[in-house]
């Protein structure tokens, strides 16, 4: 069983189900390799509690129906699209920009609901650093998905670095697994995503000075301080960093669709300030 090797090699030989792979592989493969169903489902969110335990492979799965194991023809829309809530319309490719921002980072927190002895965690676990004089938390990393977690003595944990919500949830569960293996009665409460960062390229240079003049109340462009224009969109509440090269970074989202919506809002504006 690969579980015991999780301590030595917390990664295990699991290829975490990514968004893309969920379309091709059934999730049961993951469930076999790394059984994360041990964690009692006391989440307030509905992700894991919907699916029954045998099917639960730690895959982030809000409102997914029972037939989710098979590839749903509806979901073949496009890579990186939101597949969990079938009620939310997937943004059609044909309309507007045709460019989909890629998620680069997701920050989430989870409560392990038990006080932790950081020193023992740091001494026993691999890939853990603990420097109480610098920062009062253990910094633990796993290789698959490539993520970093800050584990605090209160039992709360921050997980960063994942590229999708599913991977973030999986990574958080892996970290919780590691902590559990070290002897603490870890639970998995209140998993919540706090921030999502996406980036994309509009593929044409942009006149930032023009954009600043027109959208002064939303934009801040101080080339001495930062080479990009910082655009604070009101609805949805997202901060975009727009660069001369045409690259755009969007951050501050709680949900993936906010990133998409913000980009769809800014794209026509940017087209108006294209450099000739």
């Amino acid at each position: 069983m690969d579980e015991d090797s999780a301590l030595d090699d917390p990664i295990a030989n699991v290829s975490g189900p990514s968004y893309l792979s969920s379309l091709s592989q059934p999730e049961k493969d993951v469930g076999k390799d790394l059984d994360l169903s041990f964690l009692p489902e006391e989440t307030s969110g509905n992700y894991a509690s919907n699916a029954n335990v045998t099917q639960d492979s730690g895959v982030f799965d809000a409102c997914r129906q029972e037939e989710s194991a098979e590839t749903d023809p509806k979901k073949v829309a496009m890579p990186g699209a939101s597949t969990f809530c079938p009620m939310t319309p997937v943004i059609p490719v044909a309309e507007s920009s045709g460019i989909i921002p890629m998620l680069q980072n997701i920050v989430s927190t989870v409560n392990l609901a038990c006080p932790l002895d950081l020193k023992s965690i740091a001494l026993q676990a691999r890939n853990a650093e603990y420097n109480p004089k610098r920062f009062d938390a253990v910094i633990m990393r796993i290789l698959e998905p490539r993520t970093t977690a800050l584990i605090f003595s209160s039992g709360k944990m921050v997980c960063t670095g994942a590229k999708s919500e599913e991977l973030c949830h999986l990574a958080a569960r892996k970290f919780a697994r590691v902590v559990q293996k070290l002897g603490f009665p870890a639970k998995f409460l209140d998993f919540k995503i706090h921030n999502m960062v996406g980036s994309c390229d509009v593929c044409f240079p942009i006149r930032l000075e023009g954009l600043l003049l027109d959208h002064q109340q939303f934009s801040s462009y101080v080339p001495e301080l930062f080479p990009g224009l910082i655009y604070r969109m009101v609805k949805p509440r997202i901060v975009l960093m727009i660069f001369v090269s045409g690259k755009v970074v969007l951050t501050g989202a709680r949900e993936r669709r906010e990133i998409y919506e913000a980009f769809e809002n800014i794209y026509p504006i940017l087209k108006g300030f294209r450099k000739q």
């Binding site: 240079p205 002064q216 801040s220 101080v222 080339p223 001495e224 301080l225 001369v244 090269s245």
Partner: protein, 314 residues
């Protein structure tokens, strides 16, 4: 000592000429310029105190009426401060001075007065004219009264106000120049700058390369021809979009480098970098971008000491 003063002061009743209520009143001890009608004769002079210069024995002039009033910036400076005594009578039996309590006056404005002092000191270090200092004081007062940035260090807010005032007066200073005269880091000044713009709901114009040419070139000791050439080069480089995304300071520094290298007064990148507050690798990067088009960037009437093809290629 004639001073023109408007007759309508702060409080009622208004002093007006009975014949022409709209006319501006002139405060003149000799004779007025127009009809000569005396409207009021007991005026309170709010200028600085009158000094009596006599050649008699140098007794201390006892007419102390205090500093000039600055009603724009203080909450009405009508406080009295008791200074430390000089004679023997001002000390009680233990050697402590009587009337110790001279500190807690105008406490509400104490921080503001301190900040004004700091602003004056900073502006003085880089020889900024009085109008910029006044504008900075006004901005600081506005920010201070609004209290939205109350938690921030007053020095940081003062430095940011100084930066904004320089921009508003049309003579921008770089953040690094403000840093040089302030104890606050560039990062903190930048943060306060953005917060103040938001709090006061103002905006500032974008900086251009030409704003810094005269200052940088004179600090380097470059002649007017070179300065004009550098201004021309930088403006064209930005117009032709040869340097997208580069800070205007870096482009200005690279233009100065190119112009000075083509003239008799050659300056090294390090020297220019020191004056402009730009790293010499940054100058090199921007220079590489403008070098290919050097021939059409120079002004047509420029006298080359070093021809364009002999310009250093980095």
């Amino acid at each position: 000592m004639a001073s023109t003063g408007r007759g309508d002061g702060l409080a009622l009743p208004k002093v007006q000429c009975p014949n022409r209520p709209d006319a501006m009143l002139v405060e003149d001890y000799r004779a007025g310029p127009e009809c000569g009608l005396v409207v009021g004769d007991r005026m309170i002079d709010v200028g600085s105190e009158w000094r009596t210069f006599t050649n008699e024995k140098a007794t201390k002039d006892p007419s102390r009426v205090g500093d000039a009033q600055n009603p724009l910036l203080n909450g009405g400076d009508l406080t009295t401060m008791i200074s430390k005594g000089t004679g023997a009578a001002s000390f009680d039996e233990f050697g402590n001075s009587k009337y110790q309590n001279r500190r807690t006056m105008s406490s509400s404005d104490r921080a503001m007065l301190n900040a004004f002092k700091e602003i004056t000191t900073m502006a003085d270090r880089i020889n900024l004219p009085r109008n910029i200092t006044d504008r900075t004081n006004k901005l600081f007062k506005q920010v201070y009264e609004q209290k939205s940035l109350k938690g921030r260090a007053n020095d940081a807010i003062a430095s940011a106000c100084l930066y904004i005032a320089c921009r508003q007066e049309g003579v921008p200073r770089t953040f690094k120049e403000i840093c040089a005269v302030s104890r606050i880091s560039k990062k903190e000044i930048g943060r306060c700058f953005k917060l103040i713009l938001k709090a006061l709901e103002t905006s500032v114009d974008l900086i251009t390369t030409g704003d810094f040419m005269s200052r940088f070139c004179s600090n380097l000791g470059l002649p007017k021809q070179v300065q004009m050439a550098a201004t021309y080069i930088a403006r064209n480089a930005v117009e032709q979009d040869l340097v997208p995304g580069r800070s205007p300071i870096s482009v200005a520094a690279a233009a100065i480098y190119m112009a000075s290298q083509a003239s008799a007064e050659k300056k090294t990148q390090k020297e220019i970098g020191d004056i402009a507050g730009v790293a010499d690798v940054t100058i090199r990067q921007s220079y590489r971008l403008i070098y290919p088009r050097a021939a059409d960037l120079f002004p047509p009437d420029f006298k080359f000491d070093t021809p364009v093809d002999k310009l250093p290629q980095l």
